[in-house]
């Protein structure tokens, strides 16, 4: 019903190569998240899939059909944008129905689908309103509803939560997850927020500088990152990277996540001074300046009292320490 295959897609704007050969397969019903720092090409890749940008070379195949030269409206996709992109002059109902109307769907069918989508997203009270009369969260729900009524093969989300405030973001994230479970549709979701990626995805595609760094499930990426970039990008606070030579290791870089370090005031592997402590209630982040390891972050679950200037010893969990070679790849 909605598979996607991307074969060696490249995209250049003049001399600037934004996508440097992307290969990817998405099976029917999967929730795939593209994640990466800004400028990594994730939005461009989504636009190429949508047909809003032409790829410089390579093929986009939706449901076994090469759509590389098909206009966006004929690709069987629907897209939700960061800025909602609702038509300001149309009511909520007409906003949702416009795509179907353009495709020549009979009116009763349009009404039926709008009915289903609006009850799914609890938009019924607002059907006759214009976008200007809605709040940000409601607007984004309308934008999602506009995608749902089209019953597309592929849902594309372009950072849909970035314009919402923190509380709404969590709610809408939940709604998108439920929507995916109900519709069992294939969804592709672009974000720079790794929390969204980890919570929503079946499969995460980590992009960097126009290349795919790693593809895998959230826990796979967390537990066995392929390289230094993925290790640093997934997980918060960020993984500590320590120069291997300073620790007398053969590997170029040693990586250890803040949550895989323990501290003790008396003894441990790395002696250090507390530079700063962040008390979040559920956990405490300590910044330690260590003699051997340099500045590292330690995440302690629960409350831990440590004054800046105090001396602490940090000990990494040897089973959860990563070793990276000179090329940034994980050493087995």
């Amino acid at each position: 019903m909605g598979s996607l295959k991307i074969e060696n897609v490249k995209k250049a704007f003049g001399p600037v190569e934004v996508l440097k050969g992307i290969n990817l397969e998405v099976t029917d019903g999967e929730f795939v998240v593209f994640v990466g720092p800004s400028g990594c090409g994730k939005s461009t890749l989504l636009r190429v899939i949508a047909g809003l940008e032409d790829s410089t070379s390579g093929r986009v195949v939706i449901d076994g059909q090469d759509v590389s030269v098909t206009p966006p409206a004929k690709r069987g996709i629907a897209m939700v944008f960061q800025t909602y992109a609702l038509y300001p002059h149309l009511t909520v109902k007409n906003n949702m129905g416009l795509g179907l109307k353009q495709a020549g769907t009979p009116a009763p069918e349009i009404d039926r689908r709008i009915g289903i989508a609006s009850s799914m997203l609890s938009l019924e009270p607002y059907l006759e309103r214009r976008p200007a009369e809605l709040s940000g969260g409601q607007r984004q729900r309308v934008a999602i509803g506009r995608a749902v009524v089209r019953e597309p093969k592929l849902f594309l989300f372009d950072e849909p939560l970035s314009n919402l405030d923190a509380a709404l973001r969590v709610n809408t994230r939940l709604e998108i997850a439920q929507l995916h479970r109900r519709l069992k549709a294939t969804m592709i979701y672009v974000t720079h927020d790794q929390v969204e990626a980890m919570t929503l995805a079946d499969k995460i595609v980590v992009l960097n500088a126009g290349r795919i760094e790693q593809i895998g499930g959230p826990m796979e990426l967390y537990n066995s990152p392929a390289n230094e970039f993925v290790a640093g990008f997934i997980g918060s606070p960020k993984m500590n990277f320590i120069d291997g030579a300073r620790l007398g290791e053969t590997a170029k870089t040693i990586g250890v996540r803040p949550e895989h370090l323990t501290v003790d005031p008396k003894s441990g592997s790395w002696k250090g001074t507390v530079v700063h402590a962040e008390h979040l209630g559920a956990d405490t982040n300590l910044y330690l300046d260590c003699e051997k390891a340099g500045l590292i972050t330690v995440r302690i679950f629960g409350v831990y009292d440590a004054e800046p200037g105090a001396t602490l010893y940090a000990t990494p969990d040897p089973a959860k320490t990563y070793r990276f070679g000179a090329d940034g790849k994980v050493l087995k």
Binding site: R47, M79, R146
Partner: protein, 279 residues
């Protein structure tokens, strides 16, 4: 009453400056309208006093309406202004959309070329334009004026509108594309309504010079059939005797239509000038 953001001397100062400017700007207009209701003796005797029962006279207006075909001149002016305005806005907006929306070779060069007209006054080309109109048999037609004014108005319109169109969200246009709207529908239904305030700004800036122009009507269309109001008013301007009553009345009348059009556009205009300053 002093507050953190306002102090009395500053308020008075600001108002004094604004009121002075308003008085200077309105003075000639009021003088024209005032004197148009006075007798000849009244105009020359005391030009700065408003009409008194003794000097009040409608002779100017009766002359204008009685003599010459003023209603017809008005019609000509209106046809030329409205038609030129329509074409300037239509073609200007379309060119601006193309420049701001599509990536094509020579895009910025084309934008520069189209904006060049702002810096070069079209009157420099009067002789060539006249030759062109003679060759194409358009002398003494309103079409000639409409063509020239459209050309004259386009550069500024394209320059202003393309800046505003760049601000229209890409996501909105892309949403339209995904919903299967054609590029024309996207332009007319999604983009144009959003840049309406800037269209009004362009409309006012384009309209006033066209309505007031004397140069091109005098050169390209001076016939009785195609005279515009400003040219028609010259009828009363003689070499030896000038009928001031009639001229002032004609000018007062000529202010009216442009004032009405301005009022229509001005509600949009304020938003056009200020939009973009704040989000």
């Amino acid at each position: 009453m002093s507050t953190a953001t306002r102090s009395l001397p500053r308020t008075i100062g600001a108002h004094a400056i604004l009121l002075t400017y308003t008085a200077i700007a309105l003075f000639p207009v009021i003088l024209v309208i005032m004197n148009s209701f006075k007798s000849r003796a009244g105009i020359f005797g005391a030009p700065l006093t408003p009409p008194t029962p003794k000097t009040f006279d409608l002779i100017g207006y009766t002359t204008v309406i009685g003599q010459g075909d003023f209603i017809h001149y008005f019609q000509n002016s209106l046809v030329v202004t409205v038609a030129s305005l329509f074409f300037v806005l239509l073609f200007g907006a379309m060119a601006a959309f193309a420049l701001s929306e599509y990536r094509f070779r020579g895009n910025s060069l084309m934008g520069l070329y189209l904006a060049l007209g702002i810096m070069i006054p079209i009157r420099l080309g009067t002789v060539a334009i006249l030759q062109l109109m003679v060759a194409s048999g358009l002398v003494n037609t309103l079409t000639a004026l409409i063509l020239v004014y459209t050309a004259q108005g386009l550069p500024l319109a394209i320059f202003i509108l393309s800046e505003f169109m760049k601000q229209v969200s890409d996501d909105l246009k892309n949403a339209g594309r995904i919903d299967g709207l054609s590029e024309y529908t996207i332009f007319f239904r999604l983009v144009l309504p959003l840049v309406r305030p800037s269209m009004a700004t362009v409309a006012v800036f384009t309209m006033i010079p066209i309505w007031n122009d004397l140069w091109f009507p005098l050169i390209l269309a001076p016939s009785e059939e195609t005279k515009t109001v400003t040219l028609g008013a010259q009828l009363f301007l003689g070499q030896f005797v000038t009928n001031w009553n009639a001229i002032l009345a004609a000018l007062s009348l000529a202010i009216m239509p442009v004032l009405i059009l301005y009022v229509i556009f001005s509600r949009q205009l304020i938003r056009g000038i200020t939009s973009g300053a704040v989000k």
